[in-house]
């Protein structure tokens, strides 16, 4: 029994077809070093020819014990750590954490801070979706969109860099508001970006949306029904592509999302193509939100009155936001000291990854790649 078969032993794979010809089953170890597993995901595949009989994900290669670290840092000190989880959407992570602690402290960020937060978070959603699109298309074999999306993502990162000095792990927000005032020309930069990006998104769509090979590779691949999505706790674009019109920005608005008018794009079939379309439309909706927000950033302070030493009262809080990948939740328990007693992160990638097995069973090896791509996982967040 090899290492790989050991992992698969528990799977109820059903009897292989023992009809006329013996079908040879093949166990393939995909990852942790594989060009299409988006990091260090290891998937063990049981194949009949090219058909997938079952999968098992082996994760934890990037486990850094973020939740343990939190218990040994003060509330403020832990803030930058959350950026390292979903490192392509660091701003969203920071927003979720700051808002959770603000709720625990019972303070509220001032409106100006909230507007800046919304703009940066939506820019980050765009960046995350662009990265997803590029890598997903590359997995399916289209090389070119990757370079186009990276070119345009660069503009977003430039805005981040100008705002807070960092491009990836931004640490843009603080508990109680924002550390930095917007820089001179921030609005102009964002507005220029708003003009710059829509034609680029059209360009991606031109390359892919009606491309026949793309359609064949994504339609009907990785089907997941709304019922299964809910049972598996899958959230974000994957859930919406299955037809559930649910978005925390609308369901339980946070920051200042209730001020803006935007739609929740949904799909009907829950296949890879629908998820692609949903994300593409989401990018346009994000632009709409940014457009509304940047036009009317209110004047005022950017930081609420926050004590020098944060000592939330004893209690616990669960706060979640709509990260680019799905519901990103923070469950924080305070024991009244300066350090959190427990911080639990509800990572969307981790939960979504669980659906992989269901989505690829009975499909082909090539579809596993497409489905991993369409789930949009970030291993930093899966393993924490």
């Amino acid at each position: 029994m090899t290492d790989a078969t050991k992992y698969l032993s528990h799977l109820e794979l059903g009897e292989p077809d023992q009809t006329f010809l013996d079908s040879n089953e093949l166990i393939i170890n995909m990852g942790p070093q594989h060009p299409a597993t988006h990091g260090v995901l290891r998937v063990i595949l049981k194949l009949d020819g090219e058909k997938v009989l079952g999968t098992e994900c082996v994760i934890g290669y990037l486990h850094r014990g973020v939740e343990k670290i939190a218990e040994h840092r003060t509330y403020t000190m832990f803030n930058p750590y959350v950026d390292r989880m979903d490192y392509v959407a660091a701003v969203s992570n920071g927003l979720g954490y700051c808002e959770a602690i603000e709720k625990l402290l019972n303070i509220e960020a001032p409106p100006r801070a909230n507007y800046i937060r919304v703009i940066l978070t939506e820019l980050n959603r765009l960046a995350s979706h662009m990265l997803w699109l590029g890598t997903h298309a590359l997995d399916i074999g289209a090389m070119t969109p990757l370079f186009y999306t990276f070119r345009d993502r660069e503009e977003i990162l430039k805005i981040f860099e100008k705002y807070c000095g960092a491009r990836l792990t931004t640490h843009a927000f603080r508990i109680g508001g924002c550390q930095y005032e917007t820089y001179e020309g921030f609005e102009r930069d964002v507005q220029n970006f708003l003009k710059f990006v829509p034609p680029k998104i059209d360009e991606y769509e031109e390359l892919l949306t009606t491309n026949r090979i793309w359609l064949e590779r994504t339609r009907g691949v990785g089907l997941i029904s709304a019922k299964d999505c809910i049972a598996l706790g899958v959230t974000g674009p994957v859930l919406r592509a299955s037809g559930v019109k649910w978005d925390i920005r609308k369901a339980k608005p946070y920051a200042s999302y209730s001020d803006f008018d935007f739609e929740i794009p949904t799909g009907q079939n829950g296949d890879t193509y629908d998820r692609y379309l949903v994300r593409m439309r989401e990018m346009r909706q994000s632009l709409r939100i940014i457009e509304q927000a940047v036009g009317k950033i209110p004047e005022g302070p950017i930081m609420a009155k926050v004590p020098k030493v944060l000592k939330p009262p004893v209690g616990e809080i669960y706060h979640s936001i709509e990260a680019p990948k799905g519901e990103l939740g923070y469950f924080v328990v305070s024991d009244g000291s300066t350090q959190p007693y427990r911080v639990r992160v509800r990572p969307p990638s981790f939960v979504n990854l669980q659906a992989l097995d269901l989505m690829v069973r009975g499909q082909l090896v090539a579809d596993v790649i497409a489905v991993i791509g369409t789930l949009d996982i970030v291993l930093g967040e899966v393993d924490r």
């Binding site: 077809d17 009809t19 006329f20 010809l21 040879n24």
Partner: protein, 169 residues
């Protein structure tokens, strides 16, 4: 076209063919056997070329070396090589096999001895340039019926193979 070193190439190609044939039955690893078989087939194609039958040679390369051997390798690669290697290579029938081979050899020699008159004195100089066209005329003229029957037979074989291999039709 002037033939170049005909005798030399004849013996070279024949030697390769015989060597390949011997390797096919003596190698333990079926993949190696298959490769040796390919060598034999290619040597045969060379012999056909020397007989001024380029069309047959081309067909030999395309069909046998390129097509059928790939399918052979396909099947061989999917069987368990380790198991095959542990098995005894020659079973009890080798005596019978040698007897059959000897009988065939004797038959060949007899045919040659008795029917010497049937063989022409020297090799026929067939026109190389129109070889393909001649074959076509023969196949679709004189031997039309046999040719079509053979294709029907192959069709039946294909259907049979599909029926046997397919799990659900």
């Amino acid at each position: 076209m002037q033939p170049v070193a005909t005798t030399f190439f004849f013996y070279l190609l024949s030697g390769l063919a015989i060597l390949g044939g011997a390797l096919v039955i003596t190698r333990r690893n079926p993949v190696h056997s298959a490769l040796a078989l390919i060598m034999t087939l290619l040597a045969q194609a060379g012999l056909y070329l020397m007989l001024y039958a380029p069309f047959v040679a081309g067909v030999q390369i395309i069909l046998y070396a390129g097509g059928i051997m790939v399918l052979f390798l396909f099947v061989i690669m999917l069987v368990n090589i380790e198991k095959a290697q542990k098995q005894e290579q020659f079973n009890k029938q080798w005596l019978v096999g040698i007897a059959a081979a000897a009988a065939l050899g004797v038959l060949f020699v007899l045919v040659y001895m008795k029917g010497k008159a049937l063989f022409p004195e020297r090799a026929l100089q067939l026109p190389e340039q129109s070889n393909t066209q001649e074959i076509a005329v023969l196949l679709y003229g004189q031997y039309m019926f046999a040719f079509e029957i053979a294709s029907l037979l192959l069709l039946v074989a294909i259907i049979g193979a599909v029926v046997m291999a397919k799990k659900r039709i």
